[in-house]
């Protein structure tokens, strides 16, 4: 595809611009709020909340007969909030575990919403048309006024996160300490959950119930790999969410038969996969390399040490020994020849003319140092 053409369309094509702006907004909001959810081990709460919003949307329509985004979103937020309260009460008063309660809330609320929705759809009232796009999301049907509502709600949610930054940080990492400082953790919990519900409701119209839960979990999971600082993580998660939203919108507009919601989810899943693999310090690739190097170093150290211990029996720390002797000291161990060659390249051992191996001056010094360190302070071993 032509990049310039895409950029041009992004600015001037009404549909694409609206969809991209909407998807970007939902990505930013869900990324930021999802980070807190993830740190508080509530990743699947988003899943439950997004399903629980459905009856709220339909009830709001039934009561007001209005389809203004703000009214429907208010209904959704109320339902999500009720669901959270019900969940907390179940967890407090019964022995049911969190996963059961989440599954119950998500399926029963959704079923109730579905019952209401089908009930409404059979009423002789044409105004209900289009309510069902909250189920699966239809980004292509987003209108400018939808996007304005989304942006306004998202902006409020982000401002609230900024205003309560310090408090939310306490809530996420050390609620007991926060409570001892005099903050009411219950109130903060309710505020943060409400904000999460808002972020989810923003996205429902665009990507639908099922895929919205991915937008809460995935940006945060990707961002978590790159930083241990909350601020960096929240900003990164928002950026990933926005990137996925906009590029999903662009991709689905350029490739035929590619619905926006699933495309956005696949883009964010790709970002997660990339982050899992390549993220500095936590990434699987670097961790694998590190493990490989550690293993190599352990083997080299073992051979150096064996050579040193053998040589010490001869009053000469550089007395040569054959590879067979080394092998005999480590029965069943493979790769000694390779390790010896690597050591030779580093100038720590040398190969005598008769094929035996001896330590160089530097090798002897290092081996001696190791052994002395070990006997002085065995507790250091694990940390080096």
């Amino acid at each position: 595809m032509d990049i310039l053409k895409v950029l041009h369309d992004l600015v001037f094509d009404y549909t694409l611009r609206t969809v991209a702006l909407g998807a970007g907004t939902l990505g930013i909001a869900s990324g930021a709020l999802g980070s807190f959810a993830m740190l508080r081990r509530q990743s699947l709460l988003g899943d439950a909340m997004s399903h629980a919003a459905l009856p709220g949307i339909v009830l709001a329509f039934l009561l007001t007969r209005a389809k203004t985004p703000l009214v429907l979103m208010a209904g959704a937020i109320l339902a999500g909030w009720l669901a959270t309260l019900f969940m907390m009460s179940l967890l407090r008063t019964t022995r049911l575990k969190q996963d059961s309660v989440l599954g119950f809330i998500l399926s029963v609320f959704f079923g109730f919403g579905l019952m209401l929705l089908t009930f409404v759809q059979r009423l002789p009232d044409a105004r209900q048309a289009g309510l069902d796009r909250f189920l699966f999301g239809q980004a292509a049907t987003l209108l400018e006024r939808d996007v304005i509502t989304m942006a306004a709600l998202g902006g409020v949610a982000l401002l609230a996160v900024l205003a309560f930054w310090k408090e939310f940080k306490l809530l996420s990492f050390d609620p007991e300490f926060g409570a001892s400082l005099g903050f009411s953790m219950n109130v903060l919990d309710v505020i943060l959950t409400t904000l999460l519900v808002i972020a989810i409701v923003i996205g429902l119209q665009a990507v639908g119930v099922v895929l919205m839960s991915a937008m809460v979990v995935a940006p945060a999971a990707a961002a978590r790999q790159w930083s241990d600082r909350l601020g960096v993580m929240v900003v990164l998660a928002s950026a990933f969410g926005m990137l996925a939203g906009v590029s999903g919108a662009v991709l689905s507009s350029t490739v035929p038969h590619l619905s926006t919601g699933p495309t956005i989810v696949l883009v964010i899943s790709a970002i997660v996969l990339f982050s899992f693999t390549f993220a500095t310090s936590r990434g699987l690739l670097w961790a694998g390399l590190r493990r490989l190097r550690q293993r190599q170093w352990l083997q080299m150290e073992g051979v150096l040490r064996d050579l040193y211990l053998l040589a010490r029996q001869h009053d000469d720390s550089q007395h040569p020994h054959s590879q067979a002797v080394l092998q005999a000291m480590n029965p069943g161990r493979a790769g000694i020849a390779h390790t010896l060659n690597v050591l030779a390249q580093r100038g720590l051992v040398r190969r005598e003319e008769n094929g035996e191996w001896s330590l160089s001056t530097e090798g002897a010094r290092q081996a001696q140092e190791r052994i002395e360190n070990e006997t002085q302070d065995t507790t250091m071993e694990g940390t080096s």
Binding site: M38, R41, Q42, S43, L44, G46, D47, H51, L90, T93, T94, R95, L96, K97, D99, S100, L102, G103, F104, L106, S107, V108, F109, F110, G111, F112, G113, L114, M115, L116, L117, T118, F119, R122, L135, F136, V210, L211, S213, A214, V216, V217, A218, A220, A221, R224, Q225, H257, L258, S259, G261, P262, T263, V265, L266, S269, V272, F276, R282, L284
Partner: protein, 369 residues
Amino acid sequence: MSPAQVEIQLIAAITAAACALPGVFLILRRMAMMSDAISHTVLLGIVVGFFITKDLTSPYLVLGAALTGVLTVSLVELVHRTRLVREDAAVGLVFPALFSIAVLLISRYAGDVHLDTDAVLLGELAFAPFNRFAPFGSDIGPIALYLMGGILLINLFFISLFYKELKLATFDAGLAASLGFAPWLIHYGLMALVSITAVGAFDTVGSVLVVALMVAPPMSAYLLTDRLSRMIALSVAIGVVNAILGYWLAHLLDASIAGSMASMAGITFGVIYLLAPERGLVALARRRARQRWEFAMTMLAIHLFNHEGLPEASQENREEHLSQEVRWAPDFAARVVSRTVEQGWVQRQEGSLNLTELGRQRAKQAIAG
């Protein structure tokens, strides 16, 4: 009732029973959300199976779906084992991705086939009687009835055959492993059951509501009993009742049957949550109230016992004195006193209170602990 109505209720009841069986173990093994994940990802198995067989009624689709269910579980475990994210986040990452792939495959390559996302997510039980099962030309009922009946039998067979193993692996996985059972085999077997059940059921009730059928009845049963066998029986019974009541609710409102069944499951759970004999909210509140009275009565008995036979007793055992001494509100104090009198712990004599032999015993018991 028309024959179609009977058939729909029969299918609903059998589906509910088939879902409740593996659901019990999901609840006990803290894996309820796995049913949500699996019920979505089996769609991928069906789509891929369809591309291979080109036939939507092929039994291989069920096999494909079961495999995707197991694949989902192993992917979640793989992601979790990297220790980069917690298990719940791993679930939330894996299933939307697989589900998205399935949805995109359908919309891109199977747009003209009867395999649309709405039907899969929501299901339509009302249409189930239209698909007849007619081997050798004789109509013997709807296909869904035989499909779900078969799945119910498979579930029953697996659970009764491996009842002991499932029980042990659920409540004490360590012991099960040390005795030589393979907990992972049981685990994956169970996940395969969940997948097969989800595939069979989502045709009729839709994938989200499969979760309601799997989770809600066992949760209700869990509030009623501590015995596994009873929990299984109760779950099946509650599921069947929900299905039938849900059907009539839908009939009344002219709404989605699956949605009404899930709503009914919610209502049943709500009633049980409120009224369960030992764990219900009402029982909880009554137990707390009773404990409060018992505590107060024992306090009074101890107070009187401590001062019995001492010079200050005539002062300490007066009813008015209680509100100062133990800081009870006067009317509360009066009610505690009248309760102790009723129970025969205390006798009133001209405004002062004296312990009976029974009251003295109670006080001594409480002090001795």
